[in-house]
């Protein structure tokens, strides 16, 4: 394989390999190491391998080319939809879950400039050795399509997926910490509110997500939504109108109904809790073109709108 250092503009991709059987672990590690041999990685290994069920492992890999697994049953993708484990310490006592913004990428959104490393996988796990790091990816087709999915449905999918993942790895009672970027924070707030409203004892597992969640890190979460009156026009008839309606600030500068309900529901939830949420929230101070939502069209990511041009709600 030719080293790719000659072309600084070309960035490697992140790949996910699923359906690796537990007994194939050694073969998988050997294969993964071969794949990253030519990468000039400064930190971390350039790959990860962690259990995603009692019988299977899931790998992630940094590579310029689409990897060709030695086992036919290994399944390669680069969309990272759903939950992907990035490490799996035996003595883990907490799950740290990264939630990217809508249209973001579960790993790519967290990468370094050279595209080779991702802090969630390559340097954070050794600082917090007893944490399992997971990252959540959205189905961007949901954002782009005519589907009638809004924030509520996205939150429900996240909640359900998290419960399923933790059940499959026998970790459903483990404390949860979330790191949310951009609109991922809005979806997570809705998921926690949803979780708290579960009244059916049969769905106890969904409620458990809220009860074992204590602390959150929010990075640039637009709690009040996006302001762009023309956005609806841009999107009308072509894109997911429902989704846009949920997040758009109206012409009077007021947050959408769903977002104002969400801020008060989240407050109410916090008030009811015997132990309030502890939140660290970072806000950006550098103004620059800010992609909040991007939509996949074919193989390319089309930038649909941009928060720098359409400033958020202001009074």
């Amino acid at each position: 394989m030719t080293p790719h250092t000659a072309s600084p503009s070309a960035k490697p991709h992140f790949w996910r390999i699923q359906n690796i059987k537990i007994r194939e672990r050694d073969a998988a590690i050997e294969w993964l190491q071969e794949q990253v041999n030519d990468l000039a990685i400064s930190e971390g290994q350039g790959f990860s391998l962690a259990a995603d069920s009692e019988r299977t492992l899931c790998a992630t890999l940094t590579s310029y080319e689409c990897p060709r697994p030695t086992h036919r049953s290994w399944h390669v993708d680069k969309d990272f939809i759903g939950f992907t484990p990035l490490c799996d310490p035996e003595d883990a006592n907490v799950d740290i879950v990264a939630v990217t913004g809508l249209g973001g990428h579960a790993l790519g959104s967290f990468r370094s400039t050279d595209g080779l490393s991702v802090w969630l996988r390559d340097f954070a796990p050794e600082e917090i050795p007893r944490a399992r790091f997971l990252t959540y990816g959205y189905d961007t087709a949901v954002v782009a399509s005519h589907s009638n999915q809004g924030v509520h449905e996205l939150a429900h999918t996240l909640l359900d997926g998290l419960v399923t993942f933790r059940q499959r790895t026998q970790t459903h009672r483990r404390p949860l910490l979330f790191v949310c970027h951009s609109l991922g924070g809005v979806v997570l707030k809705e998921a926690l509110v949803l979780s708290s409203k579960i009244t059916d004892a049969k769905q106890k597992r969904l409620l458990e997500v809220m009860t074992v969640t204590y602390r959150l890190i929010f990075m640039g979460v637009p709690n009040l939504g996006l302001k762009h009156n023309q956005l609806e026009t841009v999107v009308k008839g072509r894109r997911n109108e429902r989704f846009v309606k949920d997040l758009l600030v109206n012409s009077d500068g007021e947050a959408s109904q769903i977002l104002s309900h969400l801020t008060s529901d989240f407050s109410d939830l916090d008030k009811r809790r015997s132990l309030p949420f502890e939140i660290v929230s970072y806000y950006e101070t550098v103004s620059s073109p800010t992609v909040v939502v991007s939509v996949h069209r074919g193989n390319f990511t089309q930038l649909l709108y941009n928060l720098a041009d359409y400033p958020c709600y202001r009074t």
Binding site: V94, I96, D200, G220, P222, N223, Y282, T285, C312
Partner: protein, 75 residues
């Protein structure tokens, strides 16, 4: 960019929030170059603290049995 106000309005009266600025643009907020990156250190130290205290905090709360949800969770 997401305004400071929008980032801060997580809930009307959520009790325990610490607001911090980050000299990055919206996208770069979650991108760090290496493990000595100043912005990374700020965030990872918060995360480390949170991770260390999470299991204990939840355990003591579990004794009360009530978490703020609509049903009680049996132990």
């Amino acid at each position: 960019m997401v305004t400071k106000m929008s980032a801060e309005r997580i809930g009307h009266s959520v009790r325990n929030i610490e607001h911090l600025s980050s000299d990055a643009d919206h996208r770069s907020l979650v991108r760090f170059e290496h493990s000595s990156d100043r912005r990374y250190i700020s965030m990872i130290e918060k995360l480390k603290e949170m991770a260390a205290e999470a299991p204990e905090a939840l355990q003591s709360r579990a004794q009360s049995g009530y978490f703020g949800g609509s049903i009680q969770v049996s132990k």
